[in-house]
Symmetry: C2
Subunit: 442 residues, 2 copies
């Protein structure tokens, strides 16, 4: 029988990031009764109000009202359709209305989630081992796993409470140049990033764009969580500030609609010039690459999302209003529960940040946060969370964990925090975990 040696297969299969995702799934299945702050999944409550047939009909009616006969509009759902997408005009309208992003529909590609968008952009930009992707450290594993799959070199750039350290990025650009390499793009999630919950300060946003101009790289902006900002506190999307077409803006409908649609998008209005002088948008190039990945995004899924948008006046803000309230309620509840349950004290060195939006809170412990500790937490206290080290391509995060409260209800958050605090009181002190793991593994 055919045996394949993993060592002889592509290096991305040995990537610790993919390993860690596998381990998280595995431990969740072994402890089904554990209360989990691990997955960053959307809350299921809005699913009960979804009416897929109505959304699809709504899109078909819209398509029929523009340039097509009703028969042609209905057939769109079942055919392949253009690689660049079918609902670009509707998404472009929403981006203009809600985020002040002025993008031509032709500069968009509708993708199979934000993940495919990341893969396509990296593939287009990373041409050789000398081309590097800079990422905020910590950062979303989706971008680093896509880089790993493509064999792209990653340069970690630290962040602080105000987001990406632009000075460090500037230095990284110079260092790369000195070694004959080049930072082609920098990935950031400026609004309540996964996993740190950090929001990039307004002034940093402008400095990042200036540096991109100076050093000639593109900024890959991931806007998954911007919709959770408290009303009136929103900061401008990098793309809305982008006078020099330095920003590639990546979005997803997984959080504002639902993940099962697998629909995301990328705004890539940069101009690509061929040696013969002809020019196309970067979006058109991404669409060509997409034919080799998924051919096109399911038109039925696109119709679902477009129909949902149209039912809410074509506005992402309207569409996400109740979800935004729900996620802020959960986050406030989590932070309040942590305060309430820790009134009696916690081991020294346990601390966490207090984001105003997003799905995530980051907690530092005075002990190593690893698979062993997670196993103990699950087995003895029935509570799960995510170790942060896999989110740190620069090698940090060994003492931090991520708490996600997005898909839980208030009672579950309360119960989870009680379990978590009991766990912390027992094990968040140097020396405790190792001793017990010896016992567990025997």
């Amino acid at each position: 029988m055919t045996l394949l040696a993993r060592e002889a297969m592509h290096a991305s299969l040995q990537d610790p990031v993919l390993e860690s995702i596998g381990f998280l799934n595995e431990i969740m299945s072994r402890y089904p009764g554990a209360l989990s702050f691990a997955p960053g999944a959307p809350h299921p409550a809005p699913y009960t109000e979804l009416n897929t047939a109505r959304y699809i009909d709504r899109f078909v009616a819209h398509a029929a009202s523009t340039s097509r006969t009703p028969d042609m509009a209905a057939r769109l759902l079942y055919e392949y359709g253009p690689a660049q997408g079918l609902i670009n005009d509707i998404v472009a309208d929403a981006l203009r209305r809600d985020l002040g992003i002025d993008a031509d529909p032709d500069s968009l590609v509708i993708t199979v989630g934000a993940q495919e968008a990341m893969l396509l952009v990296l593939r287009a930009l990373i041409a050789s081992p000398d081309d590097l992707l800079a990422v905020s450290d910590p950062c979303f594993v989706g971008i680093t796993s896509a880089a790993s799959l493509l064999g792209a070199g990653v340069q970690a750039v630290p962040e602080d409470a105000d987001g990406l350290d632009v000075d460090a990025l500037s230095e990284a650009c110079r260092a790369a140049r000195r070694s004959g390499r080049r930072i082609r793009a920098c990935y950031v999630a400026p609004d309540y990033a996964n996993p740190s919950g950090t929001r990039m300060a307004a002034e940093r946003r402008l400095r990042l764009l200036e540096l991109a101009d100076e050093e000639d790289f593109l900024v890959l902006e991931d806007n998954a969580y911007g919709f959770t900002a408290p009303p009136g506190t929103e900061l401008p999307a990098l793309k809305s500030l982008d006078t020099g077409r330095r920003v590639v803006h990546i979005g997803t409908f997984a959080k504002v609609c639902f993940p099962g649609a697998r629909v995301g998008y990328v705004v890539a209005d940069q101009i690509v010039r061929a040696s013969d002088g002809s020019a196309v948008t970067l979006a058109a190039e991404l669409a060509r690459l997409k034919t080799a990945v998924t051919v096109n995004t399911s038109p039925i899924c696109q119709a679902l999302i477009a129909g949902m948008l149209l039912e809410h006046g074509g506005s992402l803000t309207e569409l996400s209003r109740t979800r935004s309230v729900l996620y802020r309620r959960n986050l406030a509840h989590l932070l309040q529960a942590l305060d309430r349950e820790t009134v009696g004290g916690l081991p020294d060195g346990v601390e966490w940040n207090r984001p105003e939006g997003g799905f995530f809170v980051r907690m530092r412990l005075p002990v190593p946060v690893d698979a062993q500790l997670l196993e103990i937490s699950a087995a003895e206290h029935g509570v799960l969370w995510t170790p942060m080290a896999p989110f740190h391509p620069g090698g940090g995060g060994t003492h931090t964990l991520r708490l996600s409260c997005s898909y839980l209800g208030p009672e579950r958050i309360d119960e989870g925090v009680r379990r978590l605090v009991a766990f912390l009181r027992e094990y968040a002190m140097p020396g405790t975990a190792t001793a017990v793991v010896g016992g567990v593994s025997q």
Copy 2:
């Protein structure tokens, strides 16, 4: 404004295969009145009978009847779901029933069309510049464009009327070894391949599997067109003959259901062993890679396909019966029309094959078949077809074109053949095209 030089971007963007797809789309849009034998798209007639709501309900009822509550079953549609897929048991049942492929559901991954399956398999197997993918020459551009995106080396292996030349593949394996390289996999579409229409003879199938064992490579079997075989003439799928787990079987629901679902699958029951001795299926490894490409296949789309299958007794054969009849009727009609319209003669050297199934007929001309000739055909005779050179990674196909009749009706086929024959009588003689192109371009 940001200008990107295509030369500084990934080499796959300069791949002539992607260029040629772009050109075909462009010429179709410039000649909307032309009758087109170019796209291999499925016929739209079955779309009018589709009832998406019913299929989704059918799947949800099935899911609720197995291991889930009705609420959990309904929520499946909207959540992320497992990377490996949600309908693996239903697809595995169908493969066993219809193709004699005995695969555990855990050895399947449900993908975003067959295209994603190809990309994932190549990514897993191609670890270095020394790892080669062998392909039948000509072959489907989806596999060569995926190889190009991953920077994988491709070894073209000729085919004859009985399919892949296994002796030539054997020699290619030896030649690769002599140069320190290795053929890791060989892609074939044994049943009425796109673009050649060739079917691999039964004896060749067995020899290919023997060689795979001898030379330790995997066979990537693409089964997109097997369902169009005249009843009683089917040859066994390579995977059904595969006693040594040498075959990775790739399929799509684009033709037997509809393309807009973007659902395909891959059977990968090979065992992958890690250095620590642990073992998983290749399918599990592909699913890990999939988290970096599309995360998972839309559960709504999976539900649609599974519901359609269940409505047809869980049988691909039942599901595809009317489509199979339709495509054979079209193919027979095309071949008859070619015979009828050419009774008055054709230029010497115009000839074509006569497949009994599939979507495609290959035609050889005594003149170069290129973009110039296609432009003339569109402009002067209102008929389009596909030049074959991009399908030939080995550099051949300069004098052949592909005719597809899959999405046309009989009257359109008749009219198209009349136009095609008029075109051939005028231009399929050495010297004619060049002279006229001079005129056109002035």
